[in-house]
């Protein structure tokens, strides 16, 4: 007899409300821990900003409006293509370069070894729109510490999966595949930097960069590299895909900065998805606690 893919009987599936309640409980607990240890997430945004202004976007908005060129250049392409073609289990992340404990880590082991956090962050796209997204994930610095980087490691380089069979957008040379990104070590170690594994307490959908993606909320969205398969510690500033593609338009730092326009559009204002009016863009996307990382750096030249 042909053995079919095992199906979970519906009786064994936790009803969603129960599941969500449990998640809420865990989420609230994790949130409390996170809030206690790092009072830096969105909750502590600039004074004078009311909470309503940063109401999270709907799950539907977040999972249907994506820039993920590996699955097509239209914002609706990833939601249409990625869930069909991307296989996220099993998934391994290769950690290497200048560190004492390099290795290939199964996604589950990587996540299980670290504290899960819930963080609601603003996300500002370089195209002048923004969203508020409740992420779940782990702190990037926990993963870095686990690998024991050597003193010479000054930057971290990230690589997305390169497999045109799973990522049909890679069959065209729209960008230089695989997608690359990088952070300076101090940026990567900052408590705001995280590796997301979920949204709204649910596993990360394929179109959002499953199973593991970077979230650095004070930088433009394109820095938040998706579907990471490799993390490498290096001594030189790595190249990042959009900078390779158009160095005059996209820099390495890509800090949200209302003062520095994109050559083709102003960055002074943005539209929060779901709103009709534009709002002023905040320096570092409002996460002013990272400003000290860039003291002495000319952010017009290092954009």
């Amino acid at each position: 007899m042909l053995i079919k893919k095992p199906e979970i009987p519906s009786s064994e599936i936790t009803p969603e409300p129960l599941y969500l309640n449990r998640r809420q409980f865990i989420g609230a607990a994790a949130g409390a821990v996170a809030a206690a240890s790092v009072p830096t997430a969105l909750m502590a945004c600039a004074p004078g900003e009311d909470e309503q202004a940063d109401k999270p976007n709907s799950y539907e908005d977040i999972t249907t409006y994506n820039n993920f060129y590996e699955f097509g250049t239209d914002k609706s392409d990833p939601a249409r293509n990625a869930p069909r073609t991307l296989r996220t289990t099993p998934w391994t992340v290769e950690i290497g370069g200048l560190c004492d404990r390099p290795g290939r880590y199964a996604f589950n082991d990587l996540v299980r070894a670290n504290r899960v956090i819930d963080r609601t962050y603003r996300m500002r796209c370089v195209e002048a729109w923004s969203m508020v997204i409740p992420w779940r994930g782990i702190q990037l610095r926990d993963v870095i510490n686990q690998a024991r980087p050597r003193p010479g490691a000054r930057f971290v380089e990230f690589t997305t999966l390169h497999d045109p069979a799973q990522m049909p957008g890679q069959r065209r040379e729209v960008l230089d595949w695989p997608y690359l990104e990088g952070l300076r070590m101090d940026e990567a170690m900052h408590p705001l930097s995280m590796l997301a594994t979920g949204i709204y307490g649910r596993p990360l959908p394929a179109q959002n960069g499953a199973p593991l993606r970077l979230v650095v909320p004070w930088k433009y969205g394109f820095k938040n590299i998706k579907s990471i398969v490799r993390i490498r510690f290096v001594d030189r500033q790595p190249r990042n895909t959009w900078q390779i593609s158009a160095p005059g338009e996209y820099g390495f730092y890509a800090n949200v900065n209302p003062q520095v326009d994109h050559p083709r559009w102003s960055q002074a204002r943005e539209r929060r998805i779901g709103e009709w009016r534009r709002r002023p863009t905040l320096m570092f996307n409002g996460y002013s606690e990272v400003a000290s990382l860039y003291s002495g750096l000319d952010l017009r030249r290092n954009f």
Binding site: T64, Y65, Y69, V174, S245, R264, R271, W276
Partner: protein, 220 residues
């Protein structure tokens, strides 16, 4: 040349309403999407893209009328040219209106944007150029302007070229669609520059029924 078939004589009556209906299809689809599937999470952006796209499409279709008529001798097509041109202007105006909504009608930003960003500059220029063409599309104006009307309306070539450039410059990376428009525009312009465009006035061999692209090469 044989006398036009009866359906072709009839065509003169319905071509204009047909062009209007066809020209308004993108608008109808947009409204329908607004009520059903929604226009993505960012409807302002989506409407801006769709209206701009439709404006370019209508411009290309109106520019295609003359070559198609020349190649096929379907003179009844001619009224479609003006209708499609007006549809192009309608979409261009909707496109700019959506852009103004997108910019919260903040004139300072809009003026800066037009001055500082070349792709906005050329798009805006195309709209400005199309305005007098749309305003002189009435029968009265055609009569009053006489020969100058045709000269004035040749500006549509400039507007269409700027529109294509606008699309090419604004796209971040995936140039497929703007390049298709650019290729269509190039073909339509070549037709007007090369002698094939003039062959329409010559008598064709009577045996020919359906025109083929090769015909145009042999034509000059």
């Amino acid at each position: 040349m044989a006398a036009p078939a009866p359906w072709q004589l009839q065509a003169g009556r319905w071509i204009r309403p047909a062009a209007w209906i066809g020209g308004l299809v993108p608008l109808a689809l947009m409204i329908l999407a607004g009520f059903t599937t929604g226009l993505s999470a960012d409807p302002i952006r989506e409407v801006t893209h769709r209206t701009g796209w439709a404006a370019l499409l209508m411009l290309m279709l109106s520019l295609a009328v003359t070559p198609v008529r020349t190649l096929t001798k379907w003179n009844w097509l001619v009224p479609a040219r003006r209708t499609l041109g007006l549809c192009a202007y309608l979409y261009a105006v909707l496109h700019f209106a959506t852009y103004m909504v997108d910019q919260d009608f903040s004139w300072g930003y809009i003026v800066d944007d037009i001055v500082e960003h070349p792709y906005v500059t050329v798009g805006f220029a195309a709209l400005v150029i199309l305005t007098p063409l749309a305003l002189t599309s009435t029968r009265g104006m055609i009569r009053r302007l006489g020969k100058r009307w045709q000269k004035l309306h040749r500006l549509v070539y400039v507007a269409a070229g700027l529109g294509v450039l606008h699309f090419l410059w604004l796209v971040k990376k995936d140039l497929r669609e703007p390049l298709i428009f650019a290729a269509a525009f190039a073909v339509l312009m070549l037709f007007r520059v090369l002698p094939i465009g003039k062959s329409g006035k010559q008598k064709r061999p009577p045996a020919r029924k359906s025109p083929s692209p090769e015909r145009s090469v042999a034509g000059g």
